[in-house]
Structure formats: structure tokens, C-alpha cells
């Protein structure tokens, strides 16, 4: 069984500031890790994924995430956010073809 915890339900930040969205997972098996973004009234779009190899993963829209096995974390970062990054962000873990989602973090970017 696996679980995903997103510690922050909402993260307010000013435009052009850096941001980190936290994600921790627990699993009894090796997992693949994902970050998805959901813009208002839209479906989920894959931002980035960790399957194996380099622990620093780069995704679309300038986002990146670092897999840390010892801390069982997969935090998402962006060095400078834009207003258009305002959205809900979901961390997910996959094992045996089942995606388990965290509860989501709402990123609110203001001018």
C-alpha cells in the first residue's frame, strides 16, 4: 500500500518569487512519482515524473522536483513563478499501475 501527503493545502506567493510545494510518500515497494497540475475547470496535466536515474527531474513550465529516498520526499520547485502558475498541484505515487494522489496544493500567485 502507498500513501501520498501534501503538507500544504494552499501556498500563497508573489509573482517572480521562488516556490516549493512539498510532497512525502510512503510505500512498501518501489514507486514512480509524478506531479500533475490542474488549472481551473480543466483536467490534469503531467508536469514531471521520476521513474529512475537522476534524482533531479525537470518538467514543463520551468518546474523541477527532487526525489529524496531517505526522506521519502518529492518536492516541487520553481525559481520564479508567474501569475499563470496559479493552479492546483497534485503529487502522485504509482505502484502496480495504481496512481495514489495527494490531496493537492493550491498555488496562489499574486502580483
Amino acid at each position: 500500500a502507498q500513501s501520498v501527503t501534501q503538507l500544504d493545502s494552499q501556498v500563497p506567493v508573489f509573482e517572480e518569487a521562488p516556490v516549493e510545494l512539498r510532497c512525502n510518500y510512503s510505500s512498501s515497494v518501489s514507486v514512480y512519482l509524478f506531479w500533475y497540475v490542474q488549472y481551473p475547470n480543466q483536467g490534469l496535466q503531467l508536469l514531471l515524473k521520476y521513474l529512475s536515474g537522476s534524482t533531479l527531474v525537470k518538467g514543463i513550465n520551468g518546474f523541477e522536483a527532487e526525489f529524496n529516498k531517505s526522506q521519502t520526499s518529492f518536492h516541487l520547485r520553481k525559481p520564479s513563478v508567474h501569475i499563470s502558475d496559479t493552479a492546483e498541484y497534485f503529487c502522485a505515487a504509482s505502484g502496480y499501475s495504481t496512481l495514489t494522489f495527494g490531496k493537492g496544493t493550491m498555488l496562489l500567485v499574486s502580483p
Binding site: 514512480y32 509524478f34 490542474q38 480543466q42 483536467g43 490534469l44 503531467l46 499501475s97 495504481t98 496512481l99
Partner: protein
């Protein structure tokens, strides 16, 4: 050139009715899924089909019945709709073994 499509996008209906949501993918994937997103944005897997066979069936009321006529389609039929069924339902697809899922735009179901 839509990858995963769902119809309808919005569905408003009364309690007790029966309704269906359709999903189609043109990615050549062999695995399809249905997720429910509640009012708090929490996403939970409902069903998973691989090559038209059911492989995951979470604790979902048996009023919900998925049907997969072929690998490219996974429809969701809901009988005797209840107020608590109001949610956004997402279809997704993947290639077995890759775990990277592609999501449809969602269907917002409102039961009055």
C-alpha cells in the same frame, strides 16, 4: 487530435435518474481508468481496465458500472443517481507498465 476525450463536459440531472459518461482515447493505450474528484479536489481511483478487462475496482457502489467495448473506450454508467454522486469524473489512459497516465478534461456531474 484530442488525446483523451470525455462527453458530456457538464451533466445536470435529478436524483434517481440513470446516466452515462463516455470516454475515448486515441493514444493507442491499453489501460483506461475512471477517477472521482470530490468537492475538496480529492482524486480517487474508481476503476481500471486493461485490454477491456477489469483489473481494479475500488470500493465503489455497484450503481456504478464501467463498460469497455474496446481498448479505446471506457464508459461509465451510473444507476439511481444520488446527491453524493455530484463530483467531477475524470477518465485517464496509459500503456500498461509505464504508469504515466493521461487525463481527459473531466465531466462535472451535478445531481439535484
Amino acid at each position: 487530435d484530442t488525446a483523451v476525450s470525455q462527453t458530456p463536459k457538464y451533466l445536470v440531472t435529478q436524483m434517481g435518474n440513470d446516466k452515462s459518461i463516455k470516454c475515448e482515447q486515441n493514444l493507442g493505450h491499453d489501460t483506461m481508468y475512471w477517477y472521482k474528484q470530490d468537492s475538496k479536489k480529492f482524486l480517487k481511483i474508481m476503476f481500471s481496465y486493461n485490454n477491456k478487462e477489469l483489473i481494479i475496482n475500488e470500493t465503489v457502489p455497484n450503481r456504478f458500472s464501467p463498460k469497455s467495448p474496446d481498448k479505446a473506450h471506457l464508459n461509465l454508467h451510473i444507476n439511481s443517481l444520488e446527491l453524493g454522486d455530484s463530483a467531477v469524473y475524470f477518465c485517464a489512459s496509459s500503456l500498461a507498465g509505464t504508469d504515466e497516465q493521461y487525463f481527459g478534461p473531466g465531466t462535472r456531474l451535478t445531481v439535484t
